[in-house]
Structure formats: C-alpha cells, structure tokens
C-alpha cells in the first residue's frame, strides 16, 4: 500500500518543479494524474492554495486583483511593485478580475494575506465600525 503524501509535500514538490523551470503544462498533467490515481481530486482547491503558499515562500507570488473597472497597465504595474515590496518576492504574477460590486478601488488576494482597498469594503467598515 502506497504511503499517503501530505498536501504540503505535494505542493512543495510542484513548487520546486515550477521554480526549476519544468513546463507548467507537464506539471499540471502530473498533478492531475496523481490526484486521480490517488483519488484525491476533492483536495484540488486546497492543494492549489498550498502550491501558491510554497511558491510565495520561494519568491514567486501569484496575486489576484479585483476592481470595478479594468485596470490600466500603469496601475497594474504599480500594484505589482507594491506586492513585490510588501512580500519581498522576486516575481509577481497578477490575475485581474472585474467585479462592479466593489464600486471602486482594488482588492489584492495574496497567499495568506489580503489587501482590501475597495470602496465597498470601506462602506462595509463604515456600517460595522460606526454601528451602535
């Protein structure tokens, strides 16, 4: 009977392979085959999150940005610079999502942390912090 690998080890292995330059498609296929074979497809979301953590520890940050409008290239670069300086990472990859519900501003999701500077969030803070 095969030893059940922990998610941390799987994520660490994938992150190491990605950092060392292995083709991403091959890594994805490898991971998918492993999860199907070990019947752990249900853990996919958690493993992806763990991989993001492992990559962040190795200086590669995958950040998702949510804003009400599409961001200009300058703004995106400014966000990348900010994330890079905040996390001390060598590389930042930005994924942009548009959500009108945030009204204005932006929200950055990083592995293990979040920076929410949207107007919707500020209004929510207004509602909760000043509510009696």
């Amino acid at each position: 009977m095969a030893i059940r690998l922990s998610r941390r080890k799987i994520a660490g292995y994938i992150a190491d392979q990605a950092v060392s330059g292995v083709d991403a498609n091959n890594l994805v296929q490898l991971l998918a085959a492993f999860l199907v074979d070990s019947r752990r497809v249900g853990e996919l979301t958690l493993i992806i999150r763990d991989i993001e953590y492992q990559l962040a520890e190795r200086g590669f940050v995958l950040a998702s940005v949510v804003s009400a409008h599409k961001l200009s290239a300058d703004t995106q670069q400014s966000i990348i610079d900010m994330v890079s300086s905040q996390t001390g990472s060598k590389s930042v990859q930005l994924q942009q999502f548009v959500d009108p519900n945030v009204i204005g501003g932006f929200k950055v999701d990083l592995p293990g942390r979040q920076l929410d500077s949207t107007i919707a969030h500020k209004l929510t803070q207004l509602r909760t912090n000043y509510k009696k």
Binding site: A68, L71, D74, T75, P100, L115, S117, L123, R127
Partner: protein
C-alpha cells in the same frame, strides 16, 4: 277592779287594827298572794321561758340576719372593690392595648408609607431608566439607519461617478497610502 278591791271590804269599822280599819282581810290577802305567787311561778315556769326563748331566737335570727347582712354588705363591698379593681385593671390594660395599638398602627402606617414611597421611587426610577434606554435605543436605531442610508447613498452615487480613469487615481492614492 274597783269592784274587786272593794268586794272584800266592809263598811263597818275594823275592830282588829289598821288592816281591819283599811278593810283588808288577811285570808283573802294570803290567798291572793299565794295565787299571785302561783301565777308568777307558772309564768316563770312555762310562759317566760317560752317567751324568752322565742325572743332569743328572734334576736338570734335578727342578729344572724344582721350579721349576714353585714357580711353580705362586706362581701358586696369587697365585690364592688374587686370589681372596681378589675375595672381599673381592665381600664389600664385597655389603655395599654389602645396605646400599643395606636403605636403599632402608627408604625404600620409609617412603614406602609415608607414602603409605598420606596415602591413609587423605584417605579419612577425604573420608568426613567426604561425611558433612557428607549431613548438610547431610538438614537442608536436612528444612527444606524442614517449610517445605512449614507452608505447606501454613497454606494449609489460613487458607483455612478467612478470611471476607469478616476478608479485608477483612487487605486494610485491607495497604493501611496500602503507604501
């Protein structure tokens, strides 16, 4: 009587002395004396004892009745004195009871007044407290409702006025604040 005294007298002058001169007959006188003595003896023997006994009994009865009356009077006096004493004692006790009852009633009234006053004060204090709480709750509700309206209005207004350009400016300001 006169006839009795004179029937033995004689009109003739006495020849045997002064008794004869007075018309007294010795025989008749002796008989009368004896009869008198017999009468006295009979009376002393039969009538006087009975009469004296009757008188003594009556006197004894009278004395007994007097004594009984005196005793009754004394008993009545004692009873009256006892009654008076009891009445006096009863009056004293009644006065004590009345005084105690007055004091107790005054105490009860005082306590009732104090209790009623405390209760009234408590009701007033509770009402004030409840009113203050309701006022605070109403103020808070108004505050929260105003806050919600402000947030909602801000959301609507800002949502309409924000464009790509000023959104980038907002983000730029936010990034500066983060740095």
């Amino acid at each position: 009587m006169n006839h009795l005294l004179t029937q033995f007298a004689t009109t003739e002058p006495a020849s045997g002395g002064i008794f004869e001169a007075l018309g007294i007959d010795w025989k008749t006188l002796i008989i009368q004396i004896v009869a008198f003595l017999i009468l006295v003896w009979l009376l002393g023997k039969f009538v006087y004892p009975w009469l004296m006994k009757s008188v003594d009994e009556r006197q004894a009865k009278i004395e007994a009745a007097t004594k009984a009356a005196s005793e009754a009077q004394a008993a009545a006096s004692d009873a009256e004195a006892q009654v008076e004493k009891l009445l006096k004692k009863a009056r004293g006790e009644a006065a004590d009871i009345i005084a105690t009852a007055k004091l107790e009633s005054a105490d009860v009234v005082s306590k009732s007044e104090d209790k009623a006053k405390k209760r009234a004060d408590q009701i007033v204090a509770d009402a004030k407290s409840e009113l203050a709480k309701e006022v605070v709750a109403a103020k808070n509700a108004l505050h929260n409702e105003t806050l919600e309206l402000v947030a909602l209005a801000t959301e609507k207004v800002v949502g309409k006025v924000i464009t790509d350009k000023n959104n980038d400016d907002i983000i730029s300001d936010a990034l500066k604040a983060v740095k």
